[in-house]
Symmetry: C2
Subunit: 494 residues, 2 copies
């Protein structure tokens, strides 16, 4: 593929000047339209060293309003970044709606330099293709325009450019030993790049090969490609808005559900107080040890809690953390998204919070809000929550691929038990604040929520991230089962 | 001071149990009240190793609603953190209004371990006292409750605790070589701690010495101190709200202004096109070299631009960056704060954006908005903008202490020139978007803005961070003067 590219393409100076100045004006306009339509844009620059990525990018951004974009140079990951799944540092940089993010090199580092330089084992970098496709598809489906450039020059041209850079003392520094080493490995990189282009060229995030031997030609092609991609998306969004009724029926097709999982939960399970206290003490002690072992082994742990209002999530988490070292764990409560979170993909705020290796993140409610409260209350479209099952499974797969111990708890109580607890809270002046109008309103929708929970349990119980259902009518029983599950699961990984 | 502390204080178990369970309930209530009143709270835990900081902190947070606080363990700074002023990593973690931030160790690391272990030179750590006081005062004046604990145990007690920890294989890891080394240096730490307590015990951020020999006594004292501090602040805020008219007159007293600086600016200065093009080319080439030299020398550079609407900030920045490498600079535009920014100190969002060593941040408008638009439009109180001059000078001092090259530009045009440019923009279909109703409204307040600008230039021209006024009626002249100033100033530091 790359070897067949015609690198002799050129544009003469005079033609270039008039072309590019029109394109600059046009791009400025398109950026403003995209901003007004809240379209997020991601532009990736990959390509050979000295192929002109940085200069092309600088040229591109000069025609843009600086209030509307960010540039991210991608270097080898820092320690903070290595302690998290490789996509973490890119997820958190995805643009807000209406903004642009430009990446000088990108997540493709994973299957280029980290592959060729043998920083990663094959089993690790080869898994990245899936994760990258998931990542890009999720963003595209959320409305992102994704434009990916690969700037191509021949080995001979690269050598020529290196030599030219070396002649000037103020540019010589750019030709590092590493650059020469990569130059010598040109053919190996070619194989990696070919494979990357083939495996990640999708309709939602296509690659544009840029013949970069002639800088003018390259720039014009880059400008034109960006302009065209923006125009298409702008037209699409306007078209959608112009329709009388937006297309409401979902294009996501899901297999039909099995029977109710919740109906089969045995809520009569309970535990005596004496037994409870003995077990509690035992597991709490063990947890503190485990926390430390996980730290020294740099094991990332993510515990997540979902459940009915008043099912006892808070109480469970309190017992879990009582003896733990606060430097090693964090409780991450999930409330309504703030306005920065609202203008990103709904998974963005959770990616921001995933635990780093050696640490424990305890999520009190999570991304499952998408298929529970957001579904039932209509905070997102049918299309969106139906899409979410797959997105969530993919995100959890990324976490598990990285080695995260991911334990998912559903705390189940029945409707009578909930009522009893609500009423008890109302009566207790110290607990009254815990119960709100919203809790009562949610309770009225018990059946709708039940359907959503059943569907969630069915569609997101994967081999790598199964749900653990906690029978919670008995608080003692529930707390001990949670503690025991955490201890057993983490121990498997130590 | 520390040696005279009575470490024999104790609380018996029975008394403790009833005391602490009352305090737990109380603290939960106070946290909710503080949240409802939008009071931010900072709690710092300092003290000897094995003095029980982490356990005390964990106990404290168990009585709090996890949706309302964050815990920050403070370790040696990472590379990202070392590339910025030492307060950076703490500034960005300051709590939003209504939230709590708990620090296990803190910015005081600077004058404790980094002093005693000789990580810093005396001239560096000794400067930190001022910066720390500025930091805490700014936050306190913005409404933060700041509670600082120093947990004190004797050298003998520390040794006893180390030995006990060593006996248990699951805690032995906590007694590191470093811990023993620090133990041997107990007396040196004592000197450092004494000095720290003396120099940073202020009415807005007082230290509480905690006799930590007896864990129960320590916990009760910590709980009581937090409860009392919250109660006082809550009462103060309620009192303020209850008053018929809030106290409007400012308590900040400023020296009166000198004569107008703006009136003396010579706006007839200009430059011929041929001269302009020659100079432009020369300085742009030099800038690219400088950008690289600054990178290799890890010099942080912050250029900031303020000026009248249509004074040409955007054009100046475009010429500045045209030949630069986009990986080395970032244009940081300042627009209205979003809702996350609004619930923090107004300097918070700028601290988040300061350049790291080796990089160039180009601010298009800045923190000076506080004493310009926010003052004139009444977006903040008189008290607040009057206080801001000092806060800004202090922040800039922190940046300069760190070695940042800080260059501040005011782009000056006269009222006629502005009108000409506004009208030209209106006529040009490609530039019409640049001019808004707001620009015209601001123009009507020219005199008020002029007064604010003059006062700003007068009060924030410091020896370490002077203003450079750019005579901008001639765009050519202005652009070259900016480029030249940047080149000359940065060269002084290379």
């Amino acid at each position: 593929m790359l070897e067949k590219v015609d690198l002799s393409k050129k544009i003469e100076k005079a033609a270039y000047k008039s072309l590019i100045s029109d394109l600059e004006v046009k791009l400025g306009e398109l950026q403003r339209q995209a901003r007004d339509l809240a379209i997020p844009v991601i532009i990736v620059f990959e390509g050979w060293e000295a192929s002109g990525k940085a200069t092309a990018m600088n040229h591109l951004i000069l025609s843009l309003d600086p209030r509307g974009f960010n540039v991210y140079p991608v270097n080898p990951p820092t320690e903070e970044e290595r302690f998290r799944p490789f996509l973490w540092r890119f997820w958190i940089k995805t643009p807000a709606r209406g903004r642009m993010a430009l990446f000088d090199k990108s997540w493709y580092r994973r299957v280029l330099v980290e592959r060729v330089d043998k920083i990663l084992k094959k089993k690790d970098w080869s898994k990245s293709y899936d994760e990258i496709r998931f990542f890009e598809r999720q963003l595209a489906e959320d409305g992102n325009v994704i434009i990916k450039f690969f700037l191509h020059i021949s080995k001979k041209e690269q050598k020529k450019r290196f030599k030219k850079l070396l002649k000037n003392p103020s540019t010589a520094w750019r030709v590092t030993k590493e650059a020469w080493r990569h130059h010598k490995q040109y053919e190996k990189y070619l194989v990696a790049a070919e494979e990357m282009l083939a495996k990640t060229d999708t309709d939602y995030a296509p690659w544009t090969l840029v013949e970069a031997q002639d800088r003018r030609f390259a720039r014009v092609k880059i400008f034109k490609t960006v302009a065209e991609a923006l125009e298409n998306k702008i037209a699409e969004v306007r078209d959608l808005k112009a329709r009388d009724k937006p297309a409401k029926s979902s294009s996501v097709h899901l297999k039909s559900l099995g029977s109710s999982i919740l109906d089969k939960v045995d809520l009569s399970l309970s535990l005596k107080k004496t037994e409870y206290e003995k077990e509690l003490d035992r597991y709490q002690k063990r947890l503190r040890e485990i926390e430390h072992e996980a730290y020294t082994k740099r094991l990332p742990i993510l515990l997540l809690y979902e459940g009915w209002d008043a099912a006892g999530k808070g109480g469970v988490i309190k017992r879990l953390t009582r003896s733990m070292d606060p430097r090693g764990y964090e409780v991450v409560p999930t409330t309504a998204p703030n306005d920065v979170e609202k203008v990103h993909h709904y998974l963005w705020r959770f990616w921001n919070k995933i635990p780093k290796a050696g640490h424990i993140a305890i999520f009190d409610r999570t991304w499952y809000g998408r298929v529970l409260v957001e579904r039932v209350e209509g905070f997102c479209s049918e299309e969106e929550w139906k899409r979410a099952y797959r997105e969530i499974n993919e995100m959890e797969e990324s976490l598990v691929n990285f080695g995260t111990v991911l334990i998912k708890f559903w705390l189940q109580i029945d409707k009578d038990e909930q009522l009893k607890r609500f009423e008890a809270r109302q009566k207790d002046p110290h607990k009254r604040w815990k119960i709100t109008e919203e809790d009562w309103r949610n309770r009225e929708k018990w059946d709708e929520y039940k359907e959503a929970v059943d569907e969630m349990l069915f569609r997101t119980s994967t081999a790598y991230a199964p749900w653990t259902i906690i029978e919670s009518n008995s608080k003692y029983y529930a707390r001990i089962k949670v503690l025991k599950t955490v201890v057993k699961e983490v121990e498997k990984h130590l």
